[in-house]
Every structure is written in structure tokens, then in C-alpha cells.
Amino acid sequence: MGAVCPLALLAAGTEATIADVRAGKGMRLRLAGLGLCPDARVRVQCADRGSLIVSVGDARYALSRGIAMKILVKEAA
């Protein structure tokens, strides 16, 4: 089990499990609706600009860096 770090810091191609979402209530509920909630497995697909593209299950989202900093993940072993 790797250490916990913000999603925004992962390199493209990395898989991880969400540990915690440190955002306000509205944002947390919204992210939960998208499947971005604790225990979900995410994969960073593209991270070389300000925002990044992550895939969760069968869906893919573009997230701004600000949000990605608030999503804490454990890198897959």
C-alpha cells in the first residue's frame, strides 16, 4: 500500500485508489455522482497540462488541477 498523495501529482498512466475527498459538501456530492468517491479506482490518462483527464470505471473526466489537489489517492501497489 503506497503513501497518500493528491491525485494531481500522479503521472499519466498511474492507477490509484481514492482515499479521501477533501472538498466542500457540494463538491463532494457532485464528485460522488461521477463515481469519484473513496475506494474508487482511478487512472490518470493525461496530466501534462493544467488540468488532467482521469478514468473511473468506464467514464472519463477532465478535472482542473484545483480539484485534483483535493482528491487524495493511494497509489496502487
Binding site: C37, D39, V56, S64
Partner: protein, 665 residues
């Protein structure tokens, strides 16, 4: 005959509107990006003795609504109580779609699942056991393929059956024991308020209260049971509850999924590969610009022969009119007024169709969402979320839907800025003006000039957004989250349908509003009796001379002043008006020849005019939409005034510096 109301709900971009169109025979706009539908649409069908009203709702990821279009969907289900909700589920993305199912089911309305895009899921090697899914969720599941109209009969049958069966079970997620106990005590308290109990499903309300949902809290605030509710809520931590409940929903889904789905092999799919390239750090923006440039080149090149054909036809027509209509005034009305005004707008129909065809194609493939992603950094720099770029791209077709598309933006100030800068995005109505002037004065470089005008429009929008952000609407931009839909190959049918329905709108506009404008202008140009048609002694001339001092610094004469005034109605009218005033219909001369013969018009003036038309006052329809979407005349008025000032200043600058680049003046 009994009436049944069927609401189509579901995540964004799962094909609700496609299904709606297939069910009702409507032609609502669809596209491959989340948020095409921002308003609910209604259609009616009769089926085996039932009058069925189908309501297409905007997409929503959850029922804890955060943007304007999501609120529309939630409030409809909650307040209007449809007889049955058909949740359209994207079969290729079951997990997230089922999250919404758990929330809809909690509302206590009968639900039917339309397992849509079933063909795409099957093609990906993913098999879904519908019967098992239906049994596990206690919700009927019907296989549909919206674009091919498969499964519609089964879906309607299931919907009617569910609507007519009295609800016999609550198919909701069971939460953790302590949460369930809390829900039970809350329901017990809420039951005392008969009014509330009648309007809302209490289990749902209790669950939302536990989550600390603002909307739910507001509903009980006025109730006599409010103090007791507050007392109960004060004992729990809403954040903890909310997390536990969301967890539980996904646990239920995680338990269901492996039983119903045999996933195909998941490798790197095509969408991911394409995205590697088009969202690349270095290639992304050049690819985007190249696509835009290609769009306008094609708009010119492909349409050119058709334009020539229509011009020749109109020339014949006006020659025939001049030769065969008796009274001179009638010949002038038909020739100068109708053919000159409407004809000069109709000439550009091929350009408009091609522009719409390309825009539809980009929209249907799913590239639009990528463009928003690519532009996010730039948008962030000006203080808007990347999502705000989509209304801009839609604005290229027409600003009215562009401004409405701003509803998908969450922050109120972000939304206002997005709306206010949209008119600077050059809509298709302005294209005839560019084509006419760029074609007349810039020859082979016309495509480049038009492209630069579009870029100037974007620059004006971006610059204004930055200005507004720092002055009248300060604040942080709300964070950017957007789904990247998988790329889909547009079917020829849908792309052509889009193009057709938007193109027809253009033609219809030519036949109504532009015709009316041309006739009014013809009268102004012909009266008082006896004056030479369209001369400065006519009423139009008087009006023009009145306005001339205002635009004289820009190098515009009275004819242009009149055309610009009439262009307020719709921007194509600028072309129509000039057609009337230059009497272009008369001898079959193309309007561009008339321009070149006019000593008052130089390439620099033409450029300044195009810049002015790009930026000045949005058309009436756009102003009305701004008024509607912002809810105030103040913003609509602001938009008019700001546009005029900006247009005047930039046209002045362009008119002054252009001669040193293109020579002449």
C-alpha cells in the same frame, strides 16, 4: 383514454434526446457532449388507448443538483410527479449510471430502465444480463438502441405497465443500521406535517436532511415540525452521514455489477488513442486552430460553385422581372426590394449549410468536449472554467443556443460572464457580411481574412471576460469538471438532419424577418415620391445622413449607417439592406461589383466594417435571450452598449492601421 406522463431522466449524454426524438418523432437537437439539453421538452404520442406525454429532462449525474439544468431535472421529478420515470442508462457505463438510479428510486416514483446504447456495449464485448439486473433492482429493464429506434415498443409497454401498477414496494438502498434508525425517527417526526407528507416522499426527504442538503433543509424550515427535526439533526454529523450513504450506494452497485455484467477485455480503446494526440500538450492547440481554419476554408471553397449558381439564377430572375413587370414602381419593389434584399442573403445559403455541416460533425464526434479541455488553461487564465468554451463554440452556429448552453455552468458569475461575452463569437448570420466584403476586396485571401475575424471575435470575448472578471463580476472561477464522452462516428442521418434543420431556419429567416426589413427599407429608399431610388434625397438617405456623423470617423457613409441600423434586427439584414440600397438586384450586378465601383469603399473601410459587424450590438433574438437567461434588462442593455462601444473603437483602430498593411485607403 388515460393520460400518462413519462419523464426521461438520466446522466448527461446517454442518449435521452435521441430516444425522445425516436419516441415522439420530434427533431430536438442532439450532440455528443454532456449538456446539449438544458430545458425540458415535451412530446405526445398515442399508444393502445393511452395518451402518453413524454418529457425529456436535462441530464444529471445525481439528484443533489448543482447547475441550473440539473435543478430543472430534479424539480420536475420532485414537484410535478410524473407517472413513471424512464431512466436512460448508458450500457457502456453501468456503474455511474446506476448511482443515479439509486437516487431516483428513493423518490418513490415508478422507474423503468432503458438500457441504451446496448449495441455499443455488446460491440465492446460486454454482456449485460437484463433479467438479473431487473430482478436485483426490482426495476424493469428494457434494451434500447436510440439511434436505430430499437426497443421502443417494449419500453413504452413497460412504462405504461409501471405507471398503472400501484407502487407495491420501495426499491431503495438500505443504509447502515444507525443511518436507517435515524431515517426512521426523522420520518416519524415529519409525518406530523400532513402538508409535507403529501408533497414529498418522506424517506427521501429524511435521507436528504441527513446529508445536509440545502434544498431539503429549506423545505422543512417553514414546517411546524422544524424544531424537532433540527433537534434530531443536531445529534449527527451530516458530512459523515453523507459519506456513509454515498458509500452504501456504491456498495450496492458493486454487489450488483459482477452478477449482471460480463466485461469484455479492456485494452487501450480508440477514444484514448485519439485523445493522446488531440489533447497533447504541444499538439492540442495547433490541431484545434487547424480544424477551425479548415472549417472556414471549406466553408468558402466548397460553397463557391453553388454560390455562383444561385447568383446567376438571381441575375436571370431580376432581368426577367425588369423586362416583364409593368409599373416601374412595382418592378423596383420586386427587383430592388425583394430580390435585392432577400436574394443577397439567400446567396449565402450554401456557405451556411456547409458551416453547419462541419459544426454538427465536430459536435457529434465528441471533439467539442476536448476543445473545452484544451482551452481550459487559457480559460482559467481569464477566470472562467474550461466548460465555458462550449457555449462559445456553439455560438459559432448561433448565439442564442450558445447563451442557453451557458446553463451547464455552475457558478452564477461564471455563467453571467459566459453569457455576456457570447455575442462576440461570430455567429453564422455574420458570415454573409464577411463573405461579401472579404470576397469583394480580398480575393484569394478572403478565407484568411474571415478566419482572422473569427479569431478576433474569440479574442474580444476572452479580453472582455477578463475585464468583467476584474471589474464588475469579480471572483474565483468555479472548478472545471467535465465528462469526456467517447468518440463516436456521427451517422450521416443525424449530421444531415442537424444541418438541415438549422439551415432551414436561416432560409426561413430570409423569408420573414429579412424580407420585412428589405420591404421597410425599400419604402424608405423610394419615398418621398419622385426622388431617385436610394438616393440621399430619400427617407433612407435622410436617416443615413442623421447617423453619418456617428460612423464617419470609421469611414462609413450613410448607406452603411442605414444598413448597420437595420442589422440590429438580424445581422444578415446588413447584407440585405446594402442589396436594397445599392439596387443590386436591378441589373443583375453582383453586389460585390457595386462595392468595387463605389469610391467611398476601400479595402480598409471594408475591414473596419467587418470588424464593426462582428462586435456591435447583438441581434434582437440574442438580446431577448440574454434578458431571459440573466433575468434582467440591465444585463441585456449592458451587452448592447458595451458591444457598440467596443465595435466602434476597434473598427476605428482597424480602419486606421489597415492601410499601412494592405496599401490603399
Amino acid at each position: 383514454m388515460t393520460g400518462i406522463r413519462v419523464a426521461l431522466a438520466g446522466n448527461p449524454n446517454v442518449g435521452k434526446t435521441t430516444l425522445f426524438n425516436a419516441l415522439t418523432g420530434s427533431r430536438q437537437h442532439v450532440g455528443n457532449w454532456p449538456g446539449v439539453t438544458v430545458e425540458k421538452k415535451t412530446g405526445r404520442i398515442n399508444r393502445s388507448g393511452h395518451a402518453i406525454e413524454v418529457i425529456d429532462l436535462p441530464g444529471t449525474y445525481s439528484l443533489t443538483a448543482c447547475s441550473a439544468d440539473e435543478v430543472v431535472a430534479r424539480d420536475y421529478i420532485l414537484e410535478e410527479r410524473p407517472d413513471v420515470v424512464v431512466q436512460v442508462v448508458d450500457a457502456t457505463n453501468l456503474e455511474r449510471n446506476l448511482y443515479l438510479t439509486t437516487q431516483i428510486a428513493e423518490l418513490g416514483v415508478p422507474v423503468v430502465i432503458a438500457l441504451n446504447m446496448a449495441d455499443a456495449a455488446e460491440a465492446g464485448g460486454c454482456a449485460i444480463d437484463r433479467e438479473r439486473l431487473s430482478a436485483l433492482l426490482a426495476i424493469p429493464v428494457v434494451r434500447t438502441v436510440g439511434i436505430r429506434g430499437e426497443g421502443l415498443d417494449d419500453l413504452l409497454d413497460a412504462a405504461v405497465r409501471e405507471a398503472e401498477t400501484p407502487p407495491h414496494h420501495e426499491h431503495t438502498v438500505g443504509y447502515r443500521n444507525d443511518v436507517e434508525a435515524m431515517i426512521a425517527s426523522l420520518v416519524g417526526v415529519l409525518e406530523a406535517d400532513k402538508d409535507l407528507a403529501e408533497r414529498y416522499p418522506l424517506r427521501w426527504l429524511a435521507a436528504r436532511l441527513l446529508e445536509g442538503d440545502e434544498n431539503a433543509l429549506a423545505k422543512v424550515r417553514e414546517s411546524p415540525v422544524s424544531p424537532r427535526v433540527q433537534a434530531l439533526l443536531s445529534t449527527i454529523d451530516p458530512d459523515e452521514c453523507e459519506a456513509a450513504m454515498a458509500d452504501r450506494r456504491y456498495d450496492v452497485i458493486a454487489a450488483v455489477l459482477p452478477q449482471v455484467r460480463t466485461a469484455g477485455a479492456r485494452g487501450m480503446n480508440v477514444s484514448e488513442m485519439v485523445d493522446r494526440v488531440v489533447t497533447d500538450r504541444y499538439l492540442g492547440i495547433p490541431i484545434f486552430l487547424a480544424l477551425m481554419w479548415g472549417t472556414f476554408e471549406l466553408t468558402f471553397a466548397v460553397a463557391a460553385p453553388f454560390v455562383a449558381l444561385i447568383e446567376a439564377g438571381l441575375a436571370r430572375l431580376s432581368a426577367a422581372v425588369a423586362g416583364s413587370i409593368g409599373p416601374a414602381w412595382l418592378a423596383s419593389l420586386v427587383g430592388d426590394g425583394i430580390i435585392g434584399g432577400v436574394g443577397s442573403v439567400l446567396v449565402f445559403v450554401p456557405n451556411i449549410f456547409i458551416l453547419f455541416l462541419i459544426l454538427s460533425f465536430l459536435e457529434d464526434t465528441g471533439y467539442l468536449a476536448r476543445a473545452a479541455f484544451i482551452m481550459d488553461r487559457l480559460m482559467y487564465a481569464i477566470g472562467l472554467p474550461g466548460k465555458a468554451f462550449i457555449p462559445m463554440l456553439i455560438g459559432f452556429g448561433c448565439n442564442v443556443p450558445g447563451i442557453m448552453a451557458a446553463r451547464t455552468i455552475e457558478g452564477e458569475r461564471d455563467r453571467l460572464i459566459t453569457i455576456l461575452v457570447n455575442p462576440f463569437i461570430s455567429c453564422s448570420a455574420r458570415l454573409p457580411v464577411y463573405i461579401l466584403f472579404a470576397g469583394a476586396f480580398f480575393g484569394a485571401a478572403a478565407g484568411v481574412v474571415v478566419f482572422l475575424l473569427y479569431v478576433l471575435g474569440i479574442a474580444a470575448a476572452i479580453g472582455s471576460a477578463k475585464l468583467f472578471r476584474h471589474t464588475i463580476l469579480p471572483g474565483e472561477s468555479s472548478p472545471f469538471i467535465m465528462e469526456m464522452p467517447p468518440y463516436r462516428l456521427p451517422t450521416a442521418g443525424t449530421s444531415l438532419l442537424h444541418t438541415w434543420s438549422r439551415g432551414v431556419m436561416y432560409v426561413r429567416k430570409a423569408g420573414t424577418i429579412i424580407l420585412a426589413g428589405a420591404l421597410v427599407l425599400w419604402c424608405l429608399a423610394s419615398f418621398p415620391f419622385g426622388v431617385e431610388y436610394g438616393s440621399s434625397a430619400s427617407l433612407a438617405g435622410a436617416l443615413g445622413h442623421l447617423l453619418e456623423p456617428l460612423v464617419a470617423p470609421l469611414g462609413f457613409d450613410w448607406k452603411i449607417a442605414v444598413a448597420l441600423l437595420f442589422g440590429f434586427v438580424a445581422k444578415e439584414v446588413v447584407v440585405g439592406s446594402l442589396g436594397v440600397l445599392y439596387g443590386a438586384g436591378e441589373e443583375g450586378d453582383a453586389l460585390s461589383t457595386a462595392f468595387l465601383a463605389d469610391p467611398g469603399l476601400s479595402a480598409a473601410t471594408a475591414l473596419a466594417l467587418m470588424v464593426f459587424v462582428l462586435l456591435y450590438t447583438p441581434c434582437l433574438a440574442t438580446i431577448a435571450t440574454i434578458r431571459k437567461e440573466t433575468g434582467s434588462w440591465k444585463w441585456a442593455g449592458f451587452s448592447v452598449a458595451y458591444g457598440l462601444v467596443l465595435a466602434w473603437l476597434l473598427a476605428l483602430i482597424v480602419g486606421r492601421i489597415a492601410p499601412s498593411f494592405i496599401g490603399g485607403a
